[in-house]
């Protein structure tokens, strides 16, 4: 019932967010990887891929469920909704896996990734920081 309501709301909001911005997958500059495809990203966020190639821990950063970027990210990578993915992470939490860290704003995500070497995040604003490299970019449709 609740999900239906949310779906309805989302559908209702659709006409106003028709023009989506670009989505950037960002990581710390020091990471050896330069490119990351969709499957890798999905594996990381589904807590299936936990280490980079050099052995560092991967630390995925999330945005709050109501953030546009997250909806966009969920749709882009998983072709799903934040709600569905949220319940997946809840389950994973019960299994002892730590879900992606949630940051409240894109600035925070950028700062986080800037500071934590193994962190990976997604933002709609293209970061200008030299400490950040963009691993993937999803253009607006």
């Amino acid at each position: 019932m609740k999900r239906l309501l949310v779906l309805g709301l989302t559908a209702a909001l659709m006409p106003f967010s028709i023009a989506w911005a670009d989505l950037y997958i960002i990581a710390n500059k020091d990471l050896p990887a330069t490119q990351l495809d969709k499957e890798d990203i999905a594996a990381i966020y589904l807590l299936k891929k936990k280490h980079w190639e050099n052995g560092d821990d991967i630390m995925p950063i999330n945005l709050p469920p109501q953030a546009d970027a997250r909806t966009r990210f969920t749709a882009e990578i998983f072709d799903s909704t934040p709600d569905k993915l949220g319940s997946y992470w809840d389950k994973m939490l019960f299994k002892g896996e730590t879900p992606p860290v949630t940051q409240n704003s894109e600035q925070a995500v950028i700062l986080f990734v800037e500071r934590i070497k193994g962190a990976i995040g997604y933002v709609e604003t293209k970061p200008q920081s030299p400490q950040i490299k963009i691993l993937q970019q999803f253009s607006s449709k």
Binding site: M59, V101, Q103, N104, S105, A108, F112, R115, I116
Partner: protein
């Protein structure tokens, strides 16, 4: 013997017993109870200390637990982004409100810059050195930090997300004031000792003092601070993080001893509650016991004082004292009887004694009298024997002298006659002679002074005649005095005896004493003449001796009522009364020893008594003495 009465002693004795029992009981109870109390106090103190330690550690542990759980909150990951979204700040404020935290929460980032805090206006402050730690968790005990007023305790924990290194620090503070309130002194005082330190902080009403306290807490039985003594006990070590401490609890000794004092009071009260009635009872009992004895004693005293054995002891009851009373009464009765008998016997004995004494005195007197009489008689006997022989001698001499004197006397007249004849013859021859012859004769006669011779011859003859006469008189008086017939009763004229005696004493008084006689008796008196003469001799001799120089002796004789009275008085020295009273006593003399026998007057008295007469004496000192002899004219012959 004690000088206290039986009842007092009994009371004292029982009081002592009560005291002893109470004291012993008290001592035992006191000791046991004291031990228990001490143990209990120690246990209580330990409990209190443990409790306090637990209380404090609970607070700290609770805070620690909370802090560690809060640290794990995902929001804390925002430390990485310096709380860009103020989520940590919000979280901290929420926590503070929700848990009603007394202190504040602080989050520092990895660079040690304060990025979130419940304390306003302190952001960007640098992490204080006290809070810098390499450990996951640290309890920083009482300390100060620049931006907080007052001392605080701080829990410092590192914010270290999984798979990441330390990203910052979460700090929770707790004001020291609040913690110290937990250990503020109430009934007990508390001290906090950090592990491995030799001092402890003692919490007093005015603040915190540092006192010495090592690991050997139990070795010190008594603690002294604030001028008071305390009993102390220490808790087990309590650890929060790597901070370890102990809490010592102290109780004022006075307070600790209060139950003991209470106990003492109660014991004393109990002792008094038991002791006082007991002593009263004992004193009553002893009085009950002693009163009959006292009565008995009083009665005995009364008997002692009054000597009345008929007094009886009042006896009541049937106990031993009553028996004693009965026995005593029986005894007094018996004693009374015996005493009465004794009194009678004593009286008899006394009488007997008295009469015996009187008898002895009488007999002694008789004996003395007899002895005196005997002595006197003996002396008289000797004297009379002496006199008798003297008398015989005198009589013999008188007799012998009498004859030649008689011859001389008798030859006197013819001698005168012859001389006259011779004178006539001479005258005749003268006349018948011639002148020359006559002249021759005259010459011869002148030569022999014839005239003087003839004159003197007459005188000589006369003198011879007188001398012879005197010799004859003396001899006569000697005969008269000695009276060869002495011892026999004769009728004599007393005057003759007196004269004879005077004659014999003549040479003693010749010129110095005049004897005046007044003889008015001139009657024959029947008497022992010789002995009577002796009396005269004694008295007259005494009279002559009593006259020192010249004087007179008066001798009178008279007849008075068939009595011949002879009075011999002198003008001598007389004698004092005390001498006068004794002159008739045998062997009494005023003369030198050896001069007088002291028997003269005594014998005289005896002689006059023999005549049933009276010999009395009157004397006046320096005037003279008078002896009066009174004897009956006719001697009354005694059977």
């Amino acid at each position: 013997m004690s000088r206290f009465s039986l009842s007092v002693r009994l009371t004292l004795f029982f009081s002592l017993i009560v005291l002893l029992v109470t004291t012993t009981l008290s001592a035992v109870v006191f000791y046991q109870f004291g031990e228990k109390i001490n143990q209990q106090i120690e246990r209580n103190l330990t409990d209190t200390a443990d409790h306090k330690a637990a209380e404090i550690s609970n607070v700290l542990l609770f805070e620690r637990t909370n802090l560690l759980s809060w640290r794990a909150s995902s929001v804390m990951l925002d430390v990485v982004v310096d709380d860009l979204d103020k989520r940590i700040t919000t979280e901290l404020i929420n926590l503070k409100q929700y848990y009603q935290l007394q202190g504040d929460l602080y989050v520092f980032n990895a660079a040690g810059v304060l990025i979130a805090s419940t304390q306003p206006d302190v952001l960007k402050t640098q992490l204080p050195p006290a809070w810098q730690t390499q450990q996951d968790y640290a309890l920083v005990f009482k300390h100060e930090v620049p931006f907080i007023n007052g001392s605080v305790i701080a829990h410092v924990t590192a914010l270290k997300p999984p798979q990441l290194k330390t990203q910052g620090y979460l700090v929770m503070t707790h004001s020291w004031e609040d913690i110290s309130r937990l250990v503020a002194p109430k009934d007990s005082s508390f001290a906090l000792r950090k592990a491995n330190e030799s001092t402890a902080e003692l919490f007093t009403p005015t603040g915190v003092e540092t006192i010495a306290m090592g690991d050997d807490f139990a070795a010190q039985p008594l603690w002294t601070f604030n001028q008071n003594s305390y009993l102390g006990s220490i808790s087990k070590p309590v650890t929060v993080g790597d901070f370890s401490f102990q809490i010592a609890a102290f109780m004022p000794k006075k307070l600790a001893l209060e139950p003991l004092l209470e106990l003492t009071k109660n014991l004393l009260l109990a002792a008094a509650l038991v002791g006082v009635p007991m002593i009263v009872l004992v004193s009553l009992l002893s009085r009950l016991l002693v009163t009959p004895i006292k009565k008995l004693t009083a009665t005995i005293r009364t008997i002692e004082d009054s000597n009345d054995l008929s007094i009886k002891v009042p006896v009541s009851g049937r106990d031993e004292v009553a028996d004693l009373g009965h026995a005593f009464n029986r005894m007094t009765t018996r004693l009374g009887e015996l005493f009465n008998k004794f009194v009678v016997v004593e009286k008899e004995l006394e009488d007997l004694n008295l009469s015996l004494e009187r008898q002895v005195i009488d007999r002694t007197q008789q004996l003395q009298d007899t002895l005196l009489k005997l002595q006197s008689a003996q002396t008289q006997l000797v004297q009379s024997e002496k006199m008798a022989s003297l008398g015989q001698l005198v009589a013999g001499i008188a007799h012998e002298i009498n004859n030649p004197i008689g011859a001389i006397y008798a030859n006197m007249p013819p001698l005168e006659e012859y001389i006259d004849d011779i004178k006539g013859t001479v005258e005749f021859a003268q006349s018948c002679m011639d002148e020359p012859n006559a002249q021759k004769l005259n010459a011869h006669m002148a030569q022999i002074d014839y005239t003087f011779v003839t004159d003197d011859l007459a005188k000589l003859l006369n003198s011879q005649k007188q001398a012879a006469d005197r010799i004859r008189n003396i001899v006569l008086s000697l005969r008269n005095f000695s009276r060869l017939d002495q011892g026999e009763i004769k009728s004599v004229r007393l005057e003759e005896g007196l004269d004879s005696t005077l004659q014999m004493l003549h040479h003693h008084c010749k010129d110095r004493i005049t004897v005046e006689k007044d003889y008015a008796l001139n009657e024959m008196v029947e008497c022992y003449a010789g002995e009577l003469n002796q009396v005269f001799m004694n008295i007259l001799a005494n009279a002559i001796q009593a006259i020192p120089d010249k004087g007179r002796i008066f001798i009178t004789t008279a007849k008075m009522n068939d009595q011949a009275v002879v009075s011999i008085a002198d003008t001598g020295t007389g004698m004092p009364d005390e001498v006068r009273k004794k002159i008739f006593d045998p062997f009494f003399t005023t003369k030198e020893v050896g001069e007088g026998t002291g028997l003269g007057l005594s014998i005289s008295y005896g002689i006059i008594e023999k005549h049933q007469g009276m010999l009395t004496v009157e004397s006046e000192l320096n005037r003279g003495t008078r002896f009066i002899i009174a004897i009956p004219l006719r001697l009354i012959k005694d059977a």
